[in-house]
């Protein structure tokens, strides 16, 4: 084509562009594409942007979606998973099958963490009785808690799909068995902020000598800004590590240096707008205030003797009892979410400490008084009315006796069980003296009132004034929520 011809073709094309519908339609398509593209671009933006609206303080208290029943939550997690069959789920029929071989129907197509071959059935290793007006079955392992039967709602048919501790704890605490999701406490503080300006909104206390198998991710903030992660407080030594001023640094000097750091951070934020910078500013501020407020609230020495006697606390020790008393103190001070982990409930029967007939009973004794005292103490202060208390493990335990590697165990033990286990909730608009859900006659499978882990999450959020489907965070181009794609509020247990 000559240069001349090309010019003419170009001119013709140009004319056509003005007149023909083909070009017109083509332009329309481009316009449509552009419109779609801008929406695509918008979703790629920095996700935390919406947080900036909260007057610069990500922990400022916020309005729930509807009037809440609960102001605070105390979650008592028994890490390792206690046996429901020795505590709340009374199965006389299982006693009759004690020491008999497990029928194949219970084993076909099932997977267990440790049980191999054909195990024997293990009858309940506790004496059960009905308690309170609600006639709730509670074993003699929890004689004090039995007096609280008419204050709690039992969930007898909770189900999970993870039979190893780590993933199951993650699922229970973050709604996903894989790492990277925010924990319940993070979601709650993200949604509601915290009331007390001088204390963290989400406090974690551990006992039993170990942290949960899943590690600190169970109180992590996942993709939420890190200001919402749980703050672990210790009952021995410094309550929060590295909180005291180093030698030679006065409190005034510390104030000055924090002011300077925050000033630089503010400039940084003005330039880049990264919400993590805001997190950092508020964390410096909070840490400074916590130097005074945390040692004060974490000090249980000033509590009267009868309170110590009630909880069975021994100041200066790391114990579940101390943590229960601290939980009450923290909630009283307006902390939004207090998470307790107590390790040592993994009763496989591998040694005496992990034996259903020895170590397990000792663990029960360790929690019986403190939990009862916590409920009563909250009650007498008028706080149980606005504090949601949750108790449970990450799964349950099998009605079969564990036979690790197909061999008899030195002690009585039960394997991990996902199909049915018991949890309970109390306070803050939860029915008193109620039981929801049933298992079959040997406590193997849930038959009625099944509850999934995200149903529990939905219920917690509900009591705090949130529709679990609407508490979301935009991440990787889609809104995420604690209950992921499931979750149904357990309305039968709501009063």
């Amino acid at each position: 084509m000559t240069k001349h011809a090309r010019l003419i073709k170009e001119a013709n094309d140009q004319t056509l562009r003005y007149f023909t519908r083909r070009h017109f339609l083509m332009d329309c398509v481009k316009g449509l594409g552009a419109a779609a593209f801008t929406s695509f671009l918008a979703s790629c933006g920095s996700s935390g942007k919406t947080l900036l609206d909260v007057a610069g303080n990500p922990m400022a208290p916020r309005v729930p979606q509807f009037p809440a029943r609960a102001k605070s939550v105390i979650y008592l997690h028994m890490a390792g998973a206690p046996s429901q069959l020795e505590l709340f789920d009374y199965k006389p029929a299982l006693q009759k099958l004690h020491n008999q071989l497990c029928p194949p129907s219970l084993l076909e197509g099932k997977k267990f963490a440790f049980i191999r071959g054909v195990p024997k059935m293990l009858g309940p290793q506790a004496v059960f009785a009905q308690h309170g007006e609600s006639r709730a079955w509670i074993s003699d392992h929890l004689p004090h808690f039995a007096t609280m039967a008419d204050d709690v709602s039992f969930l007898k048919a909770v189900q999970t799909d993870q039979f190893n501790h780590g993933p199951a704890q993650l699922l229970m605490q973050t709604g996903s068995a894989r790492l990277g999701r925010p924990s319940i406490g993070s979601w709650v503080t993200y949604g509601l902020g915290s009331e007390n300006d001088n204390l963290p909104g989400f406090v974690v206390l551990t006992s039993g000598g170990k942290t949960p198998d899943a590690g600190k991710s169970v109180w992590g903030s996942g993709f939420l800004p890190s200001v919402y992660q749980g703050v672990q407080c210790r009952t021995k030594g410094e309550p929060v590590l590295y909180l005291t001023d180093p030698e030679g640094m006065s409190r005034d000097l510390r104030r000055e240096s924090i002011n300077a750091i925050n000033e630089i951070n503010k400039q940084e934020y003005a330039t880049f707008g990264d919400p993590e910078t805001l997190s950092r500013i508020s964390q410096y501020e909070l840490a400074y205030k916590m130097q005074i407020s945390v040692p004060e609230v974490m000090n249980i020495n000033k509590e009267p003797d009868y309170i110590h006697e009630m909880y069975g606390t021994q100041p200066g020790k790391e114990s579940f009892a101390n943590n229960c008393l601290l939980a009450r103190k923290l909630v009283e001070k307006g902390v939004r979410f207090v998470q307790l982990y107590d390790w040592g409930w993994d009763s496989h029967g591998t040694d005496e400490n992990l034996a259903i007939d020895y170590g397990f009973r000792n663990k029960c004794r360790e929690i019986d008084r403190p939990i009862t005292a916590l409920l009563q103490d909250l009650k007498q202060r008028g706080l149980l009315d606005e504090t949601l208390v949750i108790w449970g493990g990450e799964f349950g335990r099998t009605p079969m006796q564990e036979n690790r590697d197909g061999k008899d165990m030195p002690f009585l033990g039960r394997d991990h069980h996902v199909e049915a286990f018991t949890m309970w909730m109390a306070g803050a608009g939860i029915k008193k003296g109620f039981s929801y859900g049933e298992t079959d006659e040997i406590g193997y499978a849930a038959v009625k009132g099944k509850v999934a882990i995200n149903d529990i999450h939905a219920t917690i959020l509900q009591q705090l004034g949130f529709d679990h489907e609407k508490l979301t965070f935009q991440f990787q181009g889609r809104p995420f929520r604690l209950t992921d794609t499931g979750g149904k509020v357990i309305t039968p247990i709501l009063s």
């Binding site: 519908r21 329309c28 449509l32 419109a35 779609a36 801008t38 929406s39 918008a42 919406t50 947080l51 609206d53 909260v54 208290p61 916020r62 309005v63 729930p64 979606q65 509807f66 009037p67 809440a68 029943r69 003699d140 004689p143 004090h144 949604g191 009331e195 007390n196 009868y306 009630m310 069975g312 001070k333 307006g334 005496e352 034996a355 007939d357 020895y358 170590g359 000792n362 004794r365 019986d368 008084r369 005292a373 009563q376 103490d377 009650k379 007498q380 202060r381 008028g382 009315d385 002690f411 509900q462 004034g465 529709d467 609407k470 508490l471 979301t472 935009q474 809104p479 309305t491 709501l494």
Partner: protein, 478 residues
């Protein structure tokens, strides 16, 4: 709460202009149609010269309507089938407008095609408009508003009644549960006018009468009653009811009909009076009208005007947290957790929000008895927390004006018997906490007698010392 609202996007924004834009092609096309008709007469021939411009405008606006409509549909939330119909009709309108424009420009070549094309356009336009309206307003938008005589004339039956019970046990089986099913699924054809199969179903008597093929109801035997049997037939079966293409009866409704016939098709009987099978129990459980999850008795049902932002700011300046109890509510809660210094000097600031304040937590603040005069003005107050304050109860009688007060926390205060007994007039009070308030048992009894339903929690719980508390379980080594 801004934090939780999903962000918008360009496509959504442009899409939402569809309901606005869409009326342009409608109007322009109707004008074009009128012009086309008029221009056929000699007298109005000169109008023809306007047609190309009008039709071009119509075609352009129709195309833009299609694009915005498509973007809007990405938003979701529309009934798929209806949406598809509307979409294709809308595209059809755009295509035919372009066609009309091109025909007009080549008028000499296809003079005979113009009128049929214009008529087709009007048909498409009406249909697209109709389905568009159904999409946004629902397909019974117009018929619902129809006056009764007109409704009767066109054979439309509205739903007999909506949920008329608050407890499923009190619902009347036929009147409240079965009749609405029949009304929604059957009345359309089996009524006075239509009388399909000679059958009417609007009352028990008419049901018992049956149709031209005999009775439809066999007492207590649902499996042998045509009224039930036919519902179970496969959709292709010509005897099946409701016939193919009509919405079928849901499994839940099937169970209800089955139960009603099985219990002898009673009238006026309530659910709790009748024998229940486990199956129907499960269905009934699901029909219990839920109390709305976002309602609670600590928040008044009636709404209130918004509190003054200045008054809220004034309180917040004193360190109190003042917030709505829920998003969209104007009722306020106060939290004094960070305001230990809040005192009687500032308490009068509360009066500015006396209509809105319903939950007031002043625990641990520096207020004293003079606060009662102000607290007594908060007419809507339902929760009041005065834990660990220096109140003694002088002037506590002012709280009698807080008629809605349900929760009162006096734990750790030194409230006097006189102040405490002044609560006798607070008839709605449900819980009072007096832990460590040192109130004598006689005084407690007196208030309890006056308000028998009130729960007074004196606290001071003690746990028994049990032998098992200190027992450590060990394997006895032999």
């Amino acid at each position: 709460m801004r934090l939780l609202i999903s962000t918008g996007s360009w496509s959504m924004f442009i899409g939402r202009s569809h309901p606005l834009l869409v009326h342009l092609p409608i109007g322009i096309l109707i004008i074009a149609f009128i012009l086309t008709l008029l221009a056929r007469r000699e007298k109005w021939r000169h109008l023809r010269s306007a047609l190309p411009t009008v039709l071009l405008a119509a075609a352009l606006s129709a195309i833009f309507s299609c694009i915005t409509g498509y973007l809007l549909s990405l938003d979701g939330g529309y009934e798929e089938k209806l949406l598809q119909t509307h979409k294709y009709l809308g595209i059809g309108v755009a295509v035919i407008s372009i066609l009309l424009y091109l025909l007009e420009r080549n008028h000499q070549r296809f003079p005979r095609l113009q009128l049929p094309a214009a008529l087709l356009m009007v048909l498409l336009l009406s249909a697209a408009g109709h389905y568009g309206g159904s999409l946004t307003h629902g397909d019974d938008y117009l018929t619902q508003a129809m006056p009764a005589p007109l409704k009767k004339l066109s054979g439309i039956q509205g739903p007999v009644n909506t949920v008329a019970y608050t407890n499923i046990g009190d619902a009347r089986l036929y009147e409240d549960l079965v009749q609405p099913v029949l009304a929604n699924r059957c009345y359309g054809c089996h009524n006075e006018q239509k009388l399909k199969g000679g059958l009417r179903l609007e009352s028990i008597a008419l049901i018992r009468k049956g149709g031209e093929h005999g009775p439809v109801l066999k007492d207590s035997l649902p499996e042998e009653s045509e009224l039930f049997k036919r519902l179970l037939l496969p959709e292709e079966d010509e005897h099946r009811m409701p016939p193919k293409g009509k919405p079928s009866v849901t499994p839940q409704e099937l169970e209800l009909l089955h139960w009603w016939i099985a219990t002898g098709a009673p009238a006026g009987k309530t659910v709790k009076e009748l024998d229940k099978t486990p199956r129907i129990m499960a269905v009934l459980e699901g029909m219990q009208p839920a109390t709305p999850l976002d309602k609670q008795e600590f928040v008044p049902d009636e709404s209130v005007s918004a509190g003054s932002a200045d008054k809220i700011a004034a309180l917040e300046a004193k360190g109190l947290k003042v917030m709505p109890v829920g998003t969209g509510s104007h009722y306020l809660m106060i939290d004094g957790i960070n305001a230990a210094g809040f005192s009687d000097r500032d308490i009068s600031l509360l009066t500015g929000l006396k209509e809105q304040l319903i939950w007031v937590d002043l625990s641990g603040t520096a207020i004293t008895d003079s606060a009662f005069a102000v607290l007594g003005q908060l007419k809507k107050l339902t929760r009041l927390d005065l834990r660990r304050t220096a109140i003694k109860g002088n002037g506590m009688g002012a709280l009698n004006n807080c008629r809605e007060l349900r929760y009162l926390n006096l734990a750790g205060t030194a409230v006097t018997p006189e102040g405490f007994l002044a609560l006798q007039q607070n008839k709605k009070l449900q819980q009072v906490y007096v832990y460590e308030a040192g109130i004598a048992p006689a005084t407690l009894r007196q208030l309890q007698q006056a308000l028998p339903k009130l729960k007074i929690d004196t606290g001071g719980y003690r746990l028994q010392q049990l032998a098992s508390d200190t027992m450590i379980y060990h394997k006895v080594s032999s």
